[in-house]
């Protein structure tokens, strides 16, 4: 038989192209980082975070443990392909080293080892053969699962799987073909030389009885090499670019680089890290409501393909459920906000009229925000609480309220938002206050992230109430009803405040525990992130969320966001209360009881 030594070229070309592309890409990304981010990254290599980054690279990049935790079958599919292939490459090279007792061989030698070495007779050759066959079997099971997933996704417990683009299809087809073709080539090799193991030898025997092996032997190796080459060339332009990018992303994340309001190379790296696994699709409440183009996986895909993103970018509520579900930990909310700012032309806004706003000296400031003014009960309850505590509080926006700037920021109008931020900052700094209390989580998030207020502690009202209860300044009293706590998006997922509001509610009522709570809490549907989302979709989200709560038959739904309250209150199935209203009720109850006991003791005395 004639030995054809040329079939390695498709593989070689693919590999060289891929590595050259990746090296240039990573260098470009690094150059485009800001000066401080570069310093952070250089310093990072001297810290212990490097080990955490390496651990995460193995856990998420190879083992896919995050997906495994969410969906074991899907996790196994990713793990078998990624970790299985990785081990196959490593074991392949070890096998060649064991055979030749040297490191001096071309790197493609290990890939086509069964072709170049028909008679492996070194010590342990049988073991290596068995291990290689076993690994290939594992990978093939992963490929089989991937094909099944495309046909019947329900088996994976997934309601949806992602739509594909042309390059993705090429890459996907070549990836699926690589391993069956390798099995074919190795089996044919085993048919000739019996150099395989349990799987390839068995198949080889079948081939020799049924097929003219000599006719297709070289062709099979050519096809195997071509599938590898095609995959490597298509990789940078397909979703499989996430494989190398994710490692870069993990290292940058551990270096402490944070997402910014503007679109930078870190944002680009995050965008390429998306593996389009589709887990975010199931997390998105809008999908249930019939909106199927705003989900994070699609919006990132549109950006990568330079398609029109207007609808997909501005139609999302930015509730953050996808960000919590994302196994790659991409900062999807920040990416979206940065992209909105990048995609929007600055529309001129001018707020000179705010100059007339009142200014006052105070120790504590209460900023209600636009949404609290829309739900006056919260405002009155806060005043009731402050009166009871006897604190000197300046109600900053009692008459003339100035927006915190978050709605403009979410609409991509960074400069205009900065005007409002500056105005509020001036007012707050001039008051000489030490504490700023907010009753709207949207404001709270904006004040925490976009404002610079040195020396002032910014507190959400639920956190403040929790402190007061723990200090014994507010009474603990059971109002005797069953409640559900709804985590507002900007407070829970946005600011990671989960426990303090729960403590406050537990002090006054009997709280029912839900399955979908904390990071997995539902969105009310009216978030300010949605700019051009149809009202029908919003109402559907609200209705579905309320239906979920109604199943538990609570006496009241407690939330900590005026916007959630306003939205849920339209649905009349459960009365909705803010956490401040609950506290104010408890105070009233407490005061009444005190009066009653005083009256009773007086009666007894007289």
């Amino acid at each position: 038989m004639i030995r054809d030594p040329n079939f390695q070229y498709p593989f070689l070309i693919g590999t060289i192209f891929l590595f050259a592309y990746l090296i240039i890409r990573v260098i470009l990304w690094y150059i485009k980082l800001s000066k401080y981010d570069k310093l952070r990254f250089i310093h990072f290599w001297k810290t212990k975070s490097v080990w955490a980054a390496i651990r995460d690279s193995v856990a998420d990049g190879l083992l896919h443990l995050s997906i495994f935790k969410k969906n074991p079958l899907l996790g196994y599919m990713h793990m078998s392909l990624a970790f299985g292939w990785f081990l196959l490459i490593v074991m392949g090279h070890l096998e060649v080293i064991a055979d030749r007792h040297s490191l001096n061989f071309p790197f493609y030698y290990a890939v086509f080892y069964r072709y170049y070495q028909p008679h492996p007779d070194f010590a342990g050759a049988k073991v290596f053969g068995a291990v290689m066959d076993f690994l290939l079997l594992i990978i093939l099971s992963g490929v089989a699962l991937a094909i099944i997933k495309r046909i019947r996704k329900q088996i994976f417990g997934m309601k949806r799987t992602t739509r594909l683009k042309t390059f993705d299809k090429i890459a996907l087809a070549s990836l699926w073909l690589i391993f069956p073709l390798r099995l074919l080539a190795e089996s044919l090799s085993a048919a000739y030389y019996h150099n395989g193991s349990f799987m390839s030898n068995t198949l080889g025997e079948w081939f020799i009885q049924n097929v003219r092996v000599s006719a297709i032997y070289d062709l099979s190796w050519w096809l195997y090499s071509c599938s590898l080459g095609f995959f490597f060339i298509a990789l940078p332009f397909s979703r499989y670019m996430h494989i190398p990018t994710e490692i870069v992303f993990i290292f940058l994340r551990h270096a402490g680089i944070m997402p910014k309001k503007y679109w930078n190379s870190y944002a680009q790296i995050q965008m390429y890290s998306c593996s389009r696994c589709g887990i975010c699709l199931d997390a998105c409440q809008l999908y249930e409501a019939g909106v199927s183009n705003v989900q994070s996986v699609y919006f990132l895909q549109f950006i990568r393909n330079n398609e029109n993103v207007d609808k997909s970018l501005f139609g999302c509520i930015i509730c953050g459920r996808c960000q919590e579900a994302c196994p790659v930990h991409i900062n999807l909310n920040d990416l979206r906000t940065a992209l909105r700012i990048k995609a929007s032309k600055p529309l001129t806004f001018s707020y000179e009229y705010t100059q007339k706003a009142l200014q006052q000296k105070a120790g504590i400031i209460y900023f209600a925000g636009c949404m609290t003014h829309l739900t006056p009960q919260i405002k009155f309850s806060m005043r009731r609480i402050f009166d009871f505590l006897g604190d000197n509080v300046w109600f900053m926006d009692k008459d003339k309220s100035i927006c915190c700037g978050a709605p403009l920021m979410l609409a991509g109008q960074y400069d205009s938002a900065s005007q409002l931020i500056q105005k509020n900052t001036e007012l707050i700094m001039a008051s000489g206050a030490k504490t700023l209390i907010l009753s709207c989580p949207i404001c709270y998030k904006a004040f925490r992230e976009d404002y610079v207020l040195p020396g002032i502690s910014i507190k959400f009202h639920a956190v403040y109430l929790n402190e007061m209860i723990r200090q014994g300044r507010l009474p603990k009293i059971n109002l005797g009803f069953k409640t559900i706590y709804h985590d507002p998006c900007a407070l829970g997922r946005g600011s990671k405040i989960y426990d303090q509001p729960r403590y406050v509610i537990d002090s006054y009522s009997q709280r029912i525990r839900l399955k979908k709570e904390k990071a997995e809490a539902l969105c009310c549907g009216a978030g300010l992130g949605a700019i051009n989302l149809p009202i029908e979709a919003k109402n559907k989200v609200t209705f579905e969320a309320m239906s979920y709560f109604a199943r538990f038959k609570p006496n009241a739904l407690i939330t900590a966001c005026p916007l959630c309250k306003k939205t849920f209150a339209r649905d009349r199935r459960i009365p909705v209360l803010d956490i401040a209203e609950l506290t104010a009720r408890a105070i009233d109850e407490y005061v009444n009881e005190q009066k009653k006991t005083v009256r009773e003791t007086r009666l007894i005395e007289s």
Partner: protein, 112 residues
Amino acid sequence: MATFDFLEIRHLHIDYDNLDQELLNEVIREEPSFQWCISCGCCTATCSAGNHTTFNIRRISLILRRGEVEGLEEELKKCMLCGKCTLVCPRDIQLRNVVMNIKKIILKKKTA
């Protein structure tokens, strides 16, 4: 009495024969809910910017319908985009998107 004539006061006329509804139509195309407006004024009552100034979103909606586009841009600069108008609207009109779109279209026309 022959001089008493409503038609004499030219600047108060709305000439429906020469109505410039291009901007209005474009806004409605982008945000169809805008055509349901009944000019009730809830949006203006709740408006944060309207609390500081004479900014009146109901009036903006009215003059847009009359095709009076001049001065619209200057007036809309005052909006803080807080979204309260959208929440109180009894007709579920996405006023926040309407404001964004009017501004976008005016900007597009200016640059074009």
